[in-house]
């Protein structure tokens, strides 16, 4: 099963490697990993998307909690949560294709954020499936470059992850 795990970690050199190291050393899968500081500059928030049986996910959360730099761990997928990912995608958009690409971006609520003579760069946010669907909807040969941030997640309603 796919799980989305949120981690609050001390904003210290090496914290990211400790976490990614643990995943690789113990053979756990990482689908995506994002990290950035929070409103409290001494802490970073990390979101890891991983796959595994319930036993594996239990071990992953335990092993994460065991790391000295890790302040808190929560498996967001255990309850209602929101999940967003940002994608920047550069597509070929010559005179012929411009209209179509723009319309498709609009349907997916994407925004064109850069334009050149023959390209559009589109910004698109959503869950992973939506981004996948957008990629599928485009003419595959028109896709020049894709960058995705990996998922970020947060609990719904009053569910709060704090130190």
């Amino acid at each position: 099963m796919r799980h989305i795990i949120s981690i609050l970690v001390e904003n210290e050199a090496g914290a990211l490697s400790r976490i990614s190291n643990m995943f690789s050393a113990r053979g756990y899968n990482i689908e995506s990993l994002t990290v950035a500081p929070t409103e409290d500059a001494s802490m970073s928030r990390m979101t890891v998307v991983t796959k595994g049986s319930d036993e594996v996910i239990e071990q992953i959360t335990k092993q994460l909690n065991k790391l000295v730099d890790v302040v808190k761990v929560v498996d967001l997928s255990e309850a209602e949560h929101l999940e967003r990912e940002l994608m920047l995608i550069k597509v070929r958009a010559g005179a012929k294709e411009r209209e179509d690409v723009k319309r498709m971006a609009d349907i997916f609520r994407g925004r064109v954020i850069d334009v050149s003579d023959n390209t559009y760069t589109i910004e698109l946010t959503g869950d992973g499936a939506k981004l996948d669907a957008f990629i599928q909807a485009l003419d595959q040969s028109a896709i020049l470059e894709t960058v995705r941030t990996g998922a970020s997640g947060i609990g719904r309603g009053n569910r709060i992850l704090r130190a």
Partner: protein
């Protein structure tokens, strides 16, 4: 209130003052460029004794042995680059067995980090997977707090080694010195007390058990829980087994003790593990060398209670019914309070069954042999030392025979590398044990292959007059490798024969010690008696033993815990 003016000290002075404040009396190390200023400060004082090893691996193992035998944090000090990389095997050894250690390593000056400077290596990167935590100190103002944190993390929760990497320029920078009495870390708060509801549930299971079994590991030794465990076992009347790391956690001579379990455990211990109806696991981790194949283990239904300080040890290889996270002595105290009011079942039939398994006499060997049997040497070692020695071991057949035949009655007497299985551990570990326990009898049980991996430390033993007794079981083979090759590789002894062995007696003499070659069974006991009378000398006893002897029982890799090969089967 008057503010006490604190003095400004250099980083090197701060390191030494921190060690003094921690009550560290012994540091094992080896100097080099990056730690010259620290060594300079060591020279100027006499509270912290420095033991100069001959190789940094020896420093780490010695600090490890010091800690295992004393319950203090072991400390070692090495220089940057090769100093640190040489110590890595010792750090990983301590990590696998959860030994509290602080490793201070020198680093190139901060401005040179990342420039491939002379003797530079990424110490925190290299050690990250084999330490509990590590630090690179980038500002002298952080130095004292970092060292305090290192000692705190190493010794609390599930213990482990912590590395502090100190760049050379930091050791010359100055700042006010203040050693914090304690540190709090929001990200690190190990639990102590176990969950009351879970403990109640566990005790209820124990009271209902018809075929109970207690299985305890290194956690009991590390947390000093042997008195509580003893109380629990005696009061309940239940059978108990210890893991390799847990030996001495319960008295090896008590009739309720079924011997060690696992790959080379006793028949009765392994059978009881498989057939019990309630299993109480304490500070142990169901590892592959203990229960073998987890699917086979799961074939028999039983309720499992698991006490451990580390939640990640619970339900890792084996699904547990009642997990209890907590400090073992605290949890067992709670158990004992509840057990007082309850009544256990009559387990006479279970003991009768265990008695039948015991009747196999699974550790028997040929006592009439004209060759020296290694088991015989260990039995005699036990007799001659009255079971009261500190025994360190290396890794292989001799280690298993020592674990089977030396009956440990107290914790912290059996010092071996169980998790990582590090050949070369025995001799330097024995140095640490002897340093922590001056006047105690210390023997290193080893083999001709293992001893050669850290042999250079014989020189350290001479310098510090460490009267360690080396029991070399010399069968001219990497015995355990040879045994596997015999069983599973069609007797093809690929590279396991130790050719061109040195004359160990002359070698010991070359280092200023004495040695003795023993090649007849009749000479074993007299040699041991003579040797242990010499309280001031290191004596190297080279026993030429039966080359074909194997360790029994044996569970082949990947097999179930009851699928044992016994000596009688062959």
């Amino acid at each position: 209130m008057d503010r006490v003016k604190t003095e400004e000290l250099t980083g090197a002075e701060i390191v030494i003052r921190c060690l003094q404040a921690e009550g560290v009396d012994t540091v094992f190390g080896y100097p080099g460029g990056a730690v010259l200023w620290i060594y300079d400060e060591l020279f100027k004082q006499d509270k912290v004794r420095h033991v100069l090893v001959r190789h940094e691996q020896g420093a780490a193992h010695a600090a490890d042995g010091y800690s295992r035998s004393s319950h203090k944090v072991g400390v070692c000090l090495v220089t940057s680059g090769p100093g640190l990389t040489n110590a890595v095997t010792g750090i990983a050894t301590a990590y696998m067995d959860s030994i509290p250690m602080v490793i201070l390593s020198g680093q190139v000056p901060t401005h040179a980090i990342g420039e491939d400077a002379f003797q530079e290596c990424d110490a925190v990167g290299i050690t990250r997977p084999c330490v509990k935590h590590n630090f690179l100190v980038r500002d002298v103002k952080d130095l004292a707090t970092t060292i305090k944190k290192a000692f705190h993390i190493a010794a609390t929760g599930r213990p482990g080694p912590v590395l502090v990497d100190i760049p050379k320029d930091i050791t010359t920078h100055r700042c006010e010195f203040h050693y914090p009495e304690s540190v709090t870390m929001r990200s690190y708060n190990p639990v102590k007390k176990g969950h009351a509801g879970q403990i109640k549930k566990a005790v209820q299971l124990l009271l209902e058990a018809k075929r109970p079994m207690i299985y305890s590991g290194g956690g009991v030794v590390l947390s000093n829980a042997a008195p509580q465990l003893d109380d629990l076992v005696k009061r309940s009347g239940f059978p108990i087994t210890n893991t390799l790391m847990g030996l001495g956690g319960y008295s090896g001579t008590d009739p309720q003790f079924l011997g060690m379990l696992g790959m080379h455990g006793t028949y009765e211990a392994n059978m009881a593990m498989q057939h019990c109806d309630v299993l109480l696991a304490i500070g142990a981790r169901f590892d592959d060398r203990v229960i073998g194949n987890p699917e086979h283990f799961a074939q028999n239904p039983r309720k499992i209670i698991h006490i451990d300080i580390d939640p990640s040890s619970i339900s890792k290889r084996v699904k547990v019914d009642v997990p209890i996270v907590g400090n073992i002595p605290d949890v067992l105290d709670d158990f004992l309070k509840l057990l007082k009011d309850g009544k256990t079942q009559d387990i006479g039939a279970w003991w009768k069954q265990i008695g039948e398994w015991r009747g196999k006499d699974c550790l028997k060997y040929d006592r009439a042999s004209k060759l020296i049997k290694p088991q015989f040497v260990l039995e005699k070692l036990y007799e001659v030392t009255g079971g009261d020695a500190f025994i360190t071991s290396d890794v292989g057949q001799h280690q298993m025979w020592a674990a089977q035949f030396y009956k440990f009655e107290q914790p912290r007497r059996w010092i071996n590398s169980g998790g990582l299985g590090t050949m070369g551990f025995g001799l330097p570990a024995a140095m640490g044990v002897q340093m922590a326990n001056p006047g105690a009898t210390v023997a290193c049980v080893t083999g001709e292959s293992s001893i050669q991996m850290c042999l250079q430390e014989l020189s350290t033993c001479k310098q510090y007059r460490l009267p360690i007794k080396i029991i070399n079981l010399n069968n001219k083979y990497m015995g355990m490798v040879r045994q596997w090759q015999q069983f599973f590789h069609g007797n093809r002894y690929s590279e396991s024969y130790m050719d061109a062995l040195p004359d160990f007696v002359k070698l010991a003499e070359g280092y200023g010690h004495s040695g003795l070659l023993i090649d007849k069974p009749a000479d074993v006991e007299p040699a041991l008696r003579e040797t242990f009378k010499r309280e001031k000398d290191l004596v190297f006893l080279d026993f030429l033993t039966d080359q074909t002897e194997n360790v029994y029982p044996m569970i082949p890799g990947g097999k179930g815990i009851t699928e044992m090969i016994l000596s009688e089967d062959l």
